[in-house]
């Protein structure tokens, strides 16, 4: 899809008629139907992917078919309305969060300008409160006394095909980043609302391909990219060769090895494409430096979990591979690579869904002896926690000047910041390996802005939307680029590494994106190394 020129979009976000820039809509929002046109929606899931997922035990993905959001007729099942309302009732009974969030909002508007989609598009329905009202209006109509009696006057409306289309539009213009929930006086979390909307839509066969294809790949081949075992191994081995060529040290690796101490799982994107590849080279180098006894797995070769963006059943099914593989291989604990939504699943869902992991041991770093009490039950440690601990104990030798080509800043990924509280570990690491500066305070830590393309929205056909929703993040980077000559945006998220790269290329050329572990490996002094002058660290072309 064509993306507007930078000058054009730069003007449009400031002056375009939108609620964010001052234009006040004259029509009641309920009377404004959504219009789908190329570029404002992600492509629907391919029929065969939906059918495949539906065929898997424990999953329910009915109504696989070819359809287009632009068509008037979405080929919904005959009784789609009953399915949706029944699905909503069921979810109200299963999730207290949904009930509370439907009932407690006072529409104070504190969330409105906290959303990157609202700031970038100015579309009033992208205010978090409105996104929830899209569902809340139907909830009022069918589940509350006031709504049943007073109808539209009490903000209720009937479930219609037009409402369903609106749900599809706006539940896929939310990245479940939870920034609004930080500012809400009742902690109302739009991510919960979006997750419920997406779950409901899947009940009638409405989903997008950029999520369901990776999810089905992950189920079958073990990873989103669909890499089969031999290809996955090849990819990692290429990286091993690269590290050897650059440093003179060949990392020792293994796959599906029983009896290893640690199972290492990271998003497959890290072994698939730049700039994630450099982060993966960072892991290899780091683990070699400390002689960690670990194995990769081709069966559980995905850290990420697109089930989180689909429904809780798919999330559970995909996540279950981690423990299943850890058990089969007989490892003691698991280390997880840099990824945002992967860590939301691990920190907040995994143990509940697929625990207890009583076949694993409480994680203890064999290098420092540190017991990771905070992961005592899940038995899974974040690479930044693991690395920070190594640094604290003086187990890594750094030459910071090896990163002298880098002036970095740090992007907190939404999930590690707001669904985990992992804020200072990566900063502690950066302090030791690179010269870096913070972005402005309203855009970092718990107030961090999403890359604009999370939750499976990093697909090319909605590039303009992505560049708009990524504007607040890009703008904060631009500030430090201009003020401090920042040329590297570091992060601990695989989706970020892909999406922020597009975002920087568009808004702030000259800023590259990297994982924190890449910077660690750049600065790492290895025993027996034979390293040339790596002017670009692991990115140096030999």
């Amino acid at each position: 899809m064509s993306v507007p020129k930078l000058e054009q979009l730069s003007k449009s976000v400031v002056q375009g008629p939108s609620l964010a820039t001052g234009a006040i809509p004259t029509t009641d929002w309920m009377d404004v139907p959504v219009v789908f046109k190329p570029g404002n929606y992600a492509y629907p899931a391919k029929s065969e992917k939906v059918a495949y997922l539906d065929s898997q035990s424990g999953l329910h993905f009915p109504n696989s078919r070819e359809w287009s959001p632009e068509d008037e007729d979405w080929k919904l099942p005959e009784d789609w309305k009953e399915i949706i309302l029944k699905g909503l009732k069921e979810r109200l009974e299963k999730f207290r969060s949904l009930k509370i969030f439907m009932d407690c909002c006072v529409r104070c508007g504190a969330c409105a300008d906290k959303c990157h989609f609202f700031l970038g598009t100015g579309d009033p329905k992208n205010m978090p409160v409105m996104r929830a009202e899209l569902l809340r209006s139907v909830y009022r109509n069918d589940f509350t006394l006031a709504g049943k009696i007073l109808g539209k006057m009490a903000g209720a409306r009937e479930m219609t095909a037009s409402v369903l289309k609106e749900w599809f539009m706006y539940s896929y213009q939310c990245t479940e980043c939870r920034r609004c929930s930080v500012f809400c006086p009742y902690g109302i979390d739009t991510a919960e609302v979006t997750m419920m909307l997406r779950e409901l839509l899947h009940l009638v066969g409405v989903g997008i391909n950029w999520i369901l294809e990776p999810a089905s790949n992950s189920n079958r081949t073990g990873n989103h990219m669909g890499l089969q075992p031999h290809t996955f191994k090849d990819n990692v081995e290429f990286l091993v060769d690269d590290v050897e060529a650059l440093t003179g040290v060949k990392p020792n690796i293994s796959f599906n090895r029983k009896g290893a101490e640690v199972l290492f799982i990271t998003p497959s994107a890290d072994v698939f494409a730049e700039p994630g590849l450099y982060t993966a080279m960072g892991y290899l180098t780091l683990f070699e430096a400390i002689g960690l006894d670990y194995t990769w797995s081709t069966y559980a070769s995905e850290g990420g979990n697109f089930g989180l963006f689909t429904n809780n059943e798919t999330m559970k099914k995909l996540n279950a591979k981690m423990y299943a593989e850890a058990k089969r291989l007989g490892v003691k604990y698991i280390i997880g690579g840099e990824c945002g939504h992967m860590w939301r699943v691990i920190h907040q869902y995994m143990d509940t869904m697929n625990g207890p992991a009583d076949f694993l041991e409480k994680p203890v770093s064999s290098i420092t002896g540190t017991v990771f009490e905070n992961a005592a039950s899940t038995k899974m440690v974040h690479i930044s926690e693991f690395t920070a601990d190594l640094i604290k104990h003086g187990k890594l030798k750094f030459d910071k000047s090896r990163n002298s080509h880098v002036k970095a800043t740090y992007h907190d990924s939404c999930n590690t910041a707001r669904a985990m509280g992992l804020l200072d570990e990566p900063r502690y690491i950066l302090d030791h390996v690179v010269d870096w500066v913070e972005m402005p305070e309203n855009t970092i830590r718990e107030q961090t802005f999403c890359c604009g393309s999370g939750t499976g929205l990093n697909t090319d056909e909605i590039m303009e939307l992505r560049m708009r929703s990524g504007l607040p993040r890009a703008n904060a980077v631009k500030y430090v680029q201009e003020k401090h000559d920042v040329n590297m945006l570091s992060c601990v998220c695989a989706i970020d590494r892909a999406t922020l790269t597009s975002l920087m290329n568009y808004w702030n050329p000259g800023v590259d994106v990297c994982g924190v572990t890449e910077l660690v490996a750049n600065a790492l002094v290895l025993e027996g190394e034979n390293r040339g002058d790596l002017t670009e660290g692991l990115r140096t072309m030999l």
């Binding site: 424990g58 529409r107 409105a112 081949t221 075992p229 809780n312 905070n374 402005p440 309203n442």
Partner: protein
């Protein structure tokens, strides 16, 4: 027009009470029957709503962390923003409920030429909300003097503090002004701030107008229409209501019945409205859960039995490739049959 309906509704309520209470025999309806009914709806409704919420489980720990979680010893843990113990959660909730901390964080974002996105602290909503809620609270507590005999000494202290500036006679209470101002400010904000106006429903305007009218009638009674009402009779009725022996002595002015009827309307409306946020805030999972979900397992009562696509199935599909690539397998390849 949503706000206009709210005014109409409140005016209708005022007329009903003002005229209705003047019909002989009706004071008992407005002074005794409706207050009992309203308080029953209020209590029953609130309990019902909270029980309804409580019936749905919290399947997953979905705490929103607004600061550094507890991890390594040398990483400073933010106990309030990412609580790890019950005490820390209580502290977080206490400050949220008492000081509206999340609103205190509020910022205003704007997009300027460049484009340049800017953020500035915006505390107006926080200040308005504090004025409104605390004035309301103090007024409710002050009204306890009507129901209690003898009047506890701490209520007198509260009144003394509330009337500290000793303006006018009888002394004006700060909270009376505060509640009127709070309603007016929150209402104006809904009209003036463009995005808040866009999202506001009648359900948002109506309670503000209603509470404004309650405050106004109360103020009229206390400061301006004192001759129309008989405070001794009102106290007798109030004490009678709480001791279940209500009597209405001599005639009480219509303004009192209007005030009381509006309060009844608020009580009866309360459980079916967004005003239930007063209870919901305590039950919000993003705020009241500990951030210890990797250290302690949270139980989901409806955890479905879903197993992953099995390793065996995976190896069956890819065994040949795996063996070729030297990846260990559980089952070796079947020996190739001799070519015939």
């Amino acid at each position: 027009m949503k706000y206009a309906f709210s005014f109409l509704a409140v005016i209708a309520l005022v007329l009903i009470a003002g005229l209705g209470s003047q019909i002989p025999g009706m004071p008992y309806l407005f002074g005794v029957a409706l207050p009992y009914l309203a308080i029953m709806i209020f209590l029953g409704g609130c309990v019902y709503r909270v029980v309804q919420w409580g019936k749905s489980p919290v399947p997953f720990p979905i705490q929103t962390t607004c600061g550094q979680g507890k991890s390594l010893d040398f990483i400073k843990h933010n106990k309030l923003e990412a609580p790890n113990t019950t005490a820390e959660v209580v502290a977080r909730m206490f400050l949220e409920v008492v000081t509206f901390r999340s609103l205190f964080r509020n910022t205003k974002s704007e997009i300027h030429d460049g484009p340049q996105v800017t953020y500035e602290s915006s505390k107006w909503l926080w200040i308005f909300a504090l004025i409104f809620h605390y004035s309301f609270l103090v007024i409710v507590v002050r009204h306890m003097r009507l129901f209690l005999d003898p009047v506890p000494v701490w209520i007198s202290w509260l009144e003394l503090g509330d009337g500290l500036f000793q303006v006018g006679a009888p002394t004006w209470y700060m909270t009376d002004i505060g509640l009127l101002a709070g309603c007016a400010l929150l209402f104006s904000r809904r009209l003036i701030t463009r995005h808040v106006r866009f999202i506001s429903l009648m359900n948002d305007y109506f309670p503000l107008v209603l509470i404004f009218a309650i405050a106004l009638t109360g103020i009229l009674m206390r400061y301006f229409l004192r001759t129309d009402i008989d405070i001794v009779n009102i106290k007798q009725l109030a004490v009678g209501l709480v001791t279940f022996s209500p009597t209405i002595g001599a005639e009480i002015g219509a303004i009192f019945y209007i005030h009381l009827f509006l309060v009844c309307a608020l009580l009866a409306y309360f459980p079916f409205s967004k005003l239930m946020h007063f209870a919901g805030v305590f039950m919000s999972p993003t705020r009241n859960m500990k951030n210890d979900s990797r250290a302690k397992r949270h139980i989901n009562p409806w955890n479905p039995r879903i197993i992953p696509h099995s390793y065996a199935g995976y190896e069956d599909e890819f065994r040949e490739f795996m063996v070729d690539a030297g990846i260990p397998v559980e089952k070796e390849l079947a020996p190739k049959k001799d070519e015939e």
